[in-house]
Structures are given as C-alpha cells and as structure tokens.
C-alpha cells in the first residue's frame, strides 16, 4: 500500500543538522523522538483515565447520571469534526511529502479552522453546564434527590479536567499549525524537508485518539436510560 520516496542527502542545507551522519539517520531520530514524546503523553492522559476507571467503578450509577447531562448531539458533531481535521492533517502531510506547497497551505488552514470550530462548540458546552450550575469548584449544585450526589460531582470534576487538558492540547496544536502555515508560505518545506509537518500530524492524530476515548466515556454512558 505504501510506496516510498528516498530522501536525497545534502540537497537542502536546512534539512541536515551537523551532528547527524546522514539525513536518514536524522529522520529516524526525529520520528523516534516524537513517538517517545507521544508515549509520555499517553501516560499523562493514562493517569486521568485511571482515575476515571477507579471512580466509575465506585460510582457506576452516578457516572451514568452525570453523563446524561451531556449534549450528545454536540458531542458527536465534535467527534466528526475532529476526525475530519485529522483527515485533512494527514492529507497535509501527504501534500508536504509530494512537495505540493499550495495544497499544504490550504490543508493546514482547513485543519486550523475545523479545530477552532471544535473548540468553539466545546466551550459552548462548558457554558451550558455552567448555566446549569454543573461546574464543581465554581458553581455546583446537585439536583434534588439525586442519588449519590458525590459521584455525580466527581464525574463532572473528571469531565472538566480531562476535556480541559484535551482542549489545551488542541490549542497548542492549532498554534503549531499556524507556525507551520507561516513556514509553508515562506517556502521552507519541500519534497526533501518536511519533517515538522509529519511530526505535527502525529501530534494531531494523538489528540484525536484521546478524544475518541473521551467521547466514549463521557458522552455515551448516559444515553441508554433516556434523557
């Protein structure tokens, strides 16, 4: 399925840093470095997922009740948006590999815009929860006669921390993409040198993966019992 292009050594002064013996060595090193970084990210979110697992086990019902407060329509739209943005980003990497700079620039813009819409929707959801006084630490009220109110509050605490950390990652990603866009306009990338784009694709893909789990764990559990 994958065809390959060989990186031509020495063409691009920018590409090759002095302490690497060859550009292939450099590419391999950069990819390894990025994946190791993603491994640390997995562990970082992993800690939160573990907290989620422990508390959901302790308060199964409460987590479903909390989840029933989520807006699943907005949630699924966001999921679709994020998937689309990953798709455009993957295409961006492809364009970079083929040296199509115009395409690359437009695909980056598309990714940024979709990412921004995602965040907009996300913040509108936060705002809606806030209006319903479901913002622990800021303005929180249990519903009358809510079973296990502590568990429900815990659900919201985790919801804000986890989706919040995810949103921060999105913001950083959008920032990176903006820089890539400027670099593209400045003609810094080519068929030979484009590792920043590829590496950013990895990052964006990771952020997307995290959301798949957040969607499954926060939006879906409350659906089957009616709203």
């Amino acid at each position: 399925m994958a065809e390959t292009i060989q990186i031509l050594p020495g063409r691009e002064a920018l590409a090759h840093r002095h302490h690497f013996a060859t550009p292939e060595q450099q590419r391999e090193t950069v990819m390894a470095g990025m994946w190791i970084f993603l491994a640390t990210e997995i562990m970082m979110f992993g800690g939160l997922f573990m907290a989620y697992a422990v508390y959901r086990l302790g308060h199964p019902r409460a987590f479903e009740l909390g989840s029933a407060d989520m807006n699943v329509v907005l949630g699924s739209i966001n999921t679709a948006l994020l998937i689309t943005s990953s798709f455009t980003m993957a295409l961006a990497a492809h364009a970079a590999q083929e040296g199509r700079l115009r395409g690359l620039a437009w695909l980056l813009i598309a990714t940024i815009v979709i990412g921004a819409v995602f965040l907009g929707i996300k913040f509108s959801e936060y705002y809606a929860h806030f209006r319903e006084h479901r913002a622990p630490g800021v303005w929180y009220e249990s519903k009358p006669n809510e079973p296990d109110p502590g568990g429900v509050e815990m659900f919201f605490v985790l919801y804000y921390i986890m989706t919040g950390l995810h949103a921060i990652h999105m913001l950083i990603g959008i920032g990176i993409m903006a820089v890539l866009w400027l670099m593209t306009l400045a003609g810094r990338f080519s068929r030979v040198y484009h590792s920043p784009v590829v590496v950013s694709t990895l990052y964006w893909g990771f952020v997307d993966i995290v959301w798949m789990f957040l969607f499954a764990l926060f939006y879906l559990p409350g659906l089957h019992q009616g709203r």
């Binding site: 994958a2 390959t4 060989q6 391999e28 390894a32 694709t201 893909g205 089957h224």
Partner: protein, 93 residues
C-alpha cells in the same frame, strides 16, 4: 531509512470508516445492554484509535522501533490500571 508515503485513497477509506464507527457507537449507546454498553463503546474507541495511529499517523508503515514505543506505552498504561485494580477489586473491611 525510507519515508512511507500513503495513498490518498487509503486515507479517504479510513476517514469514512471512522465516521461510520462514530455513528455506530453513538447509536449502540442508546440500547440498554447493561455492562456491555461500556464494553462496546470502548472496543469501538480502541478500533478508532488503532485506525488513526496506524494510518493517519503511519505507525503501520514505520520502523519497528516506532511500533515498540507505541505498544510499550500502551502496555505500561495497562500495567498502571491492572495493578491498581488489584487493590480496588479485592478491597474489603
């Protein structure tokens, strides 16, 4: 080391599969399957994650080192969960 280039058609297929899976997981969540609701949701999420990592992020096409890093970190996350759960699932008095 050669750089993998993946056909756009492949990306497109994965994209469509991802959207379909999202639809599926959302609809399935409306059925009451008891504990299996979470199982289904998680399984689909794992498939989606694998698709993104494998294709959009090229993990399937990269060197063994990359795959070792990826599986390693997932494994370590599972260690974290499993050993912690030995506590929570067997706690008593």
């Amino acid at each position: 080391m050669a750089e993998p280039v993946i056909r756009r058609k492949t990306y497109a297929l994965v994209y469509i599969a991802m959207l379909a899976l999202t639809l599926a997981t959302t609809l399935l969540a409306f059925l009451n399957m008891g504990p299996f609701n979470s199982v289904v949701a998680l399984v689909i999420a794992v498939i989606q994650a694998a698709l993104i990592a494998g294709v959009f992020m090229h993990a399937l096409y990269e060197s063994a080192l990359v795959r070792i890093i990826l599986t390693g970190s997932v494994l370590w996350f599972l260690i974290l969960i499993t050993l912690t759960m030995t506590d929570y699932l067997t706690r008593s008095h």
